[in-house]
Amino acid sequence: MIPYDFEYYNPSSVEEAVQLFQTLHHDGKEPMYFSGGTEIITFGRLNMVRAGAVIDIKNIPECRALEFNQESLFIGAANALTTIEERNPFPLLSQTVSEIADRTARNKITVGGNICGTIFYREAVLPFLLTDSLVLVAGHRGLRSVPINEIFQEQLLLESGELLVQMVTNRAYLEQPFVSIKRRRQWDTGYPLITVAALKVGQEIRVAISGLTDFPFRAKQIEGALNRRDLSDEQRIELALHSLDVLILNDTEGSSQYRLFVLKNTLHDVLHELGG
């Protein structure tokens, strides 16, 4: 049971949601946007999250969009992960999110909620980092469109009251070869030890990683090393590991040495799959 109560709002437009946030914030209600709600509910039960009001965004058409125009794919933040898997407009995204939690939980977890959440892993962001996607964000000053690789620095850097509405991905990226590899300590569901998603754009391999440090990231250092065609696979991977400049997690899921060992093997698989 969540040990406190909150107000619940169910707006039907982006403007209404943003306006509600402003008003509730002004009234000292500590509002939160509520998408799948799985983090708010599970953390709320443990008193790790406290909201005075939640604003459910699942009835906002823009947040439920899953559509193409000539250039781009638009994915609304409130789409459940299984909706994305089943409609499959973006195969790398489908593959990556299909490994999050388990199938029933993915009927509730949303892509935007995963990206905006606070857990380390947030694996749904990896494909958007790899494809230089844009994010559409709404705030009291209106809508803005920002490259995800600018606004996602360890977390999505939203201003107070801003709502993530959609991710916008250029269609050209949707056809590129990719791999998404999730390694867990055990079992076939739940949180990763390491997840590596990679995309080959032309001859260049791009890499994004979750589980290595306490935030998911596009690993540009690793990309530089992996794309050194003058070196053998072994040398590229050694260089890639040496060029890492993040603090590697060392916890009950796995020691930092073990994580590096798993990453090394996973990078071998990436080179093997994407043909260096």
């Binding site: 799985t38 509910i41 029933t104």
Partner: protein
């Protein structure tokens, strides 16, 4: 009926409506014992606010009358039974959603539920035996 906005569906079903078929297990989205069907989709009722379910069709094990229930008995697919209603509601949703699921799909769906005392083999056998039952006209 009244409930708090912060009440999860599982608690409202059990403590307000007396429908105790959906079980509290982990209360954290991990075990699947609390699974019910919302507009035909399996959902963990500990991960959903009751207020989110307003206007939706909620099916719990109490309202189900489907062959999957009988085959769980025939195939010895439970021991203590604590996980059973969750498994059945999830399997029912699978059978209703996918007419001919592959082995991989069956495994992917059933991974949402945990059983601590019987074998997964019997559960899988039970689910497959319903999928392969002759369909009505």
């Amino acid at each position: 009926m009244t409930f708090r906005n912060a009440d999860v569906l599982l608690d409202v079903l059990r403590y307000q409506l007396g429908l105790t078929g959906a079980k509290p297990g982990c209360l954290n989205g991990d075990c699947g014992a609390c699974t019910v069907n919302i507009d035909g989709a399996a959902q963990k009722s500990c991960l959903m606010l009751a207020v989110e379910a307003i206007g939706k069709e909620i099916l719990t094990i109490e309202g189900l009358n489907a062959p999957i229930q009988g085959v769980f008995v025939d195939q010895f697919a439970f021991q203590c039974g604590y996980c059973t209603s969750g498994f059945i509601m999830n399997a029912h949703s699978l059978i209703e959603t996918k007419k001919n699921p592959s082995d991989e799909e069956i495994t992917a769906w059933l991974e949402s539920n945990i059983c601590r005392c019987t074998g997964y083999m019997e559960i899988e056998k039970a689910v497959k035996s319903v999928i392969h039952l002759p369909k009505g006209p």
